[in-house]
């Protein structure tokens, strides 16, 4: 599992669309989609800061750690 991005939840709480958020952060909608779907490999602090600023939250509200199931 690893790090899970819960951007959808915060975006719904703040009632902001993907298009608006992507525009205000300064990234493409495609990149925002990559982030939301946990397909990203890393996130820059600059991007994380902007997301937290816009959604008025902390990194812990967006990022969650889930232990990997080793079967």
């Amino acid at each position: 599992m690893g790090i899970i991005v819960n951007l959808d939840v915060m975006m719904a709480k703040r009632k902001i669309s993907s298009q608006d958020l992507a525009e205000k952060i300064g990234i493409t909608q495609a990149n925002l989609s990559i982030l939301k779907n946990n397909k990203g490999k890393a996130i820059r602090f600059k991007t994380l800061t902007k997301i937290c600023e816009l959604l008025e939250c902390t990194p812990g509200d967006i990022l969650e750690y889930r232990k990997e199931d080793k079967k």
Partner: protein, 155 residues
């Protein structure tokens, strides 16, 4: 002067390779007649030029395909790693074929000069070296692809 893109030097190099390919085809097709014209005996040593030429044509085609990726500004793709590996094997095959030609020239036919035999030995070592270099390059490209993927998926 840049390598990538439509107006890059890669495009010019690609055209040069395509011309080389055409000249190679013409030479291979007319080799028999050229040899007769010069007055050389069409023996096993001359016949060895055909497989070497075909391998070299394959090598040139691999390079042309790699230059196509430069045109689209996407050099770090898995296809290029594959073409490099194919080129590496082709270089090793050419090296072996040239050694076989050298053995034919030395053991079967006495009339070939020492200079030709030395040149063949050198060409064989050269292609072997190029094969090794292509292997190293393919491994470097593999790593570069991983780094690029990592970078592309860093938001």
């Amino acid at each position: 002067m840049h390598l990538n893109g439509e107006k890059g030097i890669g495009n010019i190099l690609k055209i040069m390779l395509q011309v080389t390919n055409i000249i190679l085809v013409i030479l291979l097709l007319s080799l028999y007649y050229l040899v007769k014209l010069i007055g050389i005996h069409f023996n096993l040593f001359i016949i060895m030029i055909y497989p070497c030429g075909l391998c070299f044509m394959f090598l040139v085609n691999c390079f042309i395909k790699m230059f196509n990726s430069l045109k689209t500004n996407k050099p770090f793709v898995n296809e290029n790693v594959l073409y490099m590996k194919k080129s590496m094997f082709t270089c090793f095959i050419i090296s072996v074929l040239v050694i076989i030609s050298l053995l034919i020239a030395s053991c079967v036919y006495d009339y070939y000069s020492l200079q030709l035999k030395v040149a063949l030995g050198f060409i064989s070592i050269l292609f072997f070296g190029v094969g090794i270099a292509l292997y190293i390059l393919s491994e470097l490209f593999k790593e570069a692809i991983l780094y690029k993927e990592e970078n592309d998926l860093t938001i």
